[in-house]
C-alpha cells in the first residue's frame, strides 16, 4: 500500500508566509493562499496548469 505510484502531489507551506506552494506530479507549480483552491488546481491536472516560469 505504501509502495506508491509515482504520482505524488506536494504542497509546501512557505515558511514565514501564509502562502502554499504546490507541485503537481507533472512538475507544474502553483501558489495559492487557500488549501481548497490549491487542491482544486492540483486535481484539475493538467487543466489550468502553467509552467513554473509562468508563475514568476
Amino acid at each position: 500500500m505504501s509502495g506508491g505510484t509515482g504520482e505524488v502531489y506536494r504542497v509546501d507551506w512557505v515558511p514565514g508566509t501564509d502562502l502554499l506552494h504546490g507541485t503537481c506530479h507533472c512538475g507544474r507549480e502553483h501558489r495559492a493562499e487557500d488549501p481548497v483552491r490549491m487542491w482544486e488546481w492540483m486535481l484539475a491536472h493538467p487543466q489550468g496548469h502553467r509552467l513554473p516560469e509562468d508563475d514568476s
Binding site: 500500500m1 505504501s2 504520482e7 505524488v8 506536494r10 507551506w13 487557500d34 488549501p35 481548497v36
Partner: protein, 356 residues
C-alpha cells in the same frame, strides 16, 4: 443531520487487537456490518462471522451463545455454525435449509492487529494490508487502547491529520505553541491512497509528555511525520532530540527518541468510530515507569479528543440548515485525506470492481 462520511468498501479494517480475540465471543461493528470474532481451539486462528443468526437474528456475540469446539451455537435456539459460517445443526430436524449460513469475512492477523475485509470477499488481497511492524517487533515497547467515539469517522481523520490542535486541545500534555505555528508539508500519493504531512520544529519547547519520559531538559528538535494509509491506518513518526541534534550522515540516529504513534480509524456505524491507539517506543524499553506514564498520559490525550469529537458531532447535529466550514493552511493534509476517502468510497461502490 450532520454530514456523514460514507464507508469505503472493499477495504481492510482493524476490527480488534490480537489480544482481544480469544475463546470468548467478541462483538464488533465495522462499516455498519455486525461481526462476531473468536479463535479456533487448536490453531488459534481468528474467525470472523456475521453477528446475526439466520433464524431470528439473535446476535451470536451475546450470551448465552457459546463456542462448542470451533463451532458457534446460537444461544436462542441452538442453530450451530462452523468456521465458514455454514449452518451444521438446526434443532429438531435433520434437513438443514440450504440458505442457512452466515457470512464469513476474510481475516488476517498481522502486527498484533486483526484485519477484516469489508466488501466482496473475492477481492480481498492480504498483500494490500498496510504494515505497522513496530507494534509487534523486537526492540519496541507499545502501550495501547481503544475508545469508541460517537462521531463520524471523518471527524477523527480530520483531527489526526491536523496536529495543530495539539497546541490547544492537548496543551500541557503533547501540545506546545510551536506545533500550531510551524508550517507543514503535505504529500499525496494518489494511487497508493497515502497522505503524508510533515512538521519539522527545529527549536521547540519540550512538552511534558516527552520531558518526563525521555528526561530531556531544555528545548528540543521535534519532528512529526504523519503517514495516513487510507482508509484505516495512521502512523505518526515522532522524533524528539535535544535541540540541534540531527541524524548522523550515515543515517543512524542514536541520540534521538523515536516514537511511533499508531491509530486505526475504523468506522463502526453511521456516526460512530473505533479509535484504536498505540504508542510504541524504541527507548527506555525496560523502564516500566516510563511505560505506565506513557500509557496514562496518552490515554488522557485520547480522551481529550474523544470528548471534543463527541461534542463536535452533537453540535453539528443541531445545525438545522446545514453549515459551512472554513479551511486554512493547517487543513491541507486533512482536505487531501477527505478527497482520497471520497475516491475510495466511490471505487468501493462500483459493481465493475468485481471483475478486476
Amino acid at each position: 443531520m450532520p454530514h456523514m462520511t460514507a464507508f469505503a468498501r472493499n477495504q481492510w479494517y482493524v476490527a480488534a487487537y490480537s489480544h482481544e480475540v480469544g475463546r470468548e465471543l467478541l462483538g464488533r461493528s465495522v462499516c455498519g456490518e455486525t461481526l462476531v470474532l473468536y479463535r479456533t481451539e487448536e490453531e488459534g486462528t481468528p474467525v470472523v462471522l456475521h453477528d446475526r443468526c439466520v433464524h431470528r437474528r439473535y446476535p451470536l456475540s451475546q450470551a448465552p451463545t457459546r463456542l462448542d469446539g470451533d463451532r458457534i451455537v446460537c444461544g436462542y435456539h441452538g442453530f450451530t455454525y462452523d468456521t465458514t459460517g455454514t449452518c451444521v445443526y438446526v434443532p429438531g430436524q435433520k434437513r438443514i435449509p440450504r440458505t442457512a449460513r452466515v457470512a464469513s469475512y476474510p481475516v488476517v492477523e498481522q502486527d498484533s492487529l486483526i484485519w477484516v475485509w469489508i466488501g466482496d470477499p473475492e477481492l480481498a488481497d492480504p498483500g494490500g494490508i498496510p504494515r505497522a511492524r513496530h507494534l509487534d517487533a523486537p526492540g519496541w515497547v507499545t502501550v495501547r487502547g481503544m475508545e469508541p467515539i460517537d462521531c463520524d469517522y471523518g471527524l477523527l481523520v480530520d483531527n489526526l491529520l491536523d496536529l495543530s490542535h495539539e497546541t490547544y486541545l492537548h496543551g500541557g500534555y503533547i501540545g506546545t505553541p510551536e506545533v500550531a505555528e510551524t508550517p507543514i508539508t503535505t504529500e499525496v500519493d494518489e494511487g497508493a491512497g497515502v497522505v503524508r504531512v510533515s512538521r519539522r520544529m527545529d527549536d521547540a519547547e519540550c512538552p511534558p509528555f516527552y520531558a518526563r519520559s525521555t528526561g530531556i531538559e531544555g528545548r528540543i528538535t521535534r519532528w512529526q511525520d504523519i503517514e495516513y494509509q487510507a482508509p484505516c491506518l495512521y502512523v505518526l513518526h515522532s522524533r524528539v532530540a535535544p535541540v540541534g541534534v540531527l541524524p548522523r550522515p550515515d543515517g543512524s540516529d542514536p541520540d534521538a527518541f523515536h516514537t511511533e504513534v499508531t491509530y486505526a480509524i475504523t468506522p463502526s456505524g453511521d456516526g460512530t468510530v473505533y479509535d484504536f491507539w498505540a504508542v510504541s517506543r524504541d527507548w527506555a524499553t525496560d523502564d516500566e515507569e516510563v511505560t505506565e506514564f506513557l500509557r496514562a498520559s496518552n490515554h488522557t490525550v485520547v480522551m481529550q479528543d474523544v470528548d471534543a469529537l463527541n461534542l463536535l458531532q452533537r453540535t453539528l447535529g443541531t445545525e438545522r440548515h446545514g453549515y459551512q466550514e472554513l479551511s486554512i493552511n493547517i487543513d491541507t493534509g486533512g482536505l487531501a485525506a477527505r478527497r482520497i476517502l471520497a475516491r475510495l468510497v466511490e471505487e468501493g461502490a462500483k459493481p465493475e470492481e468485481k471483475v478486476r
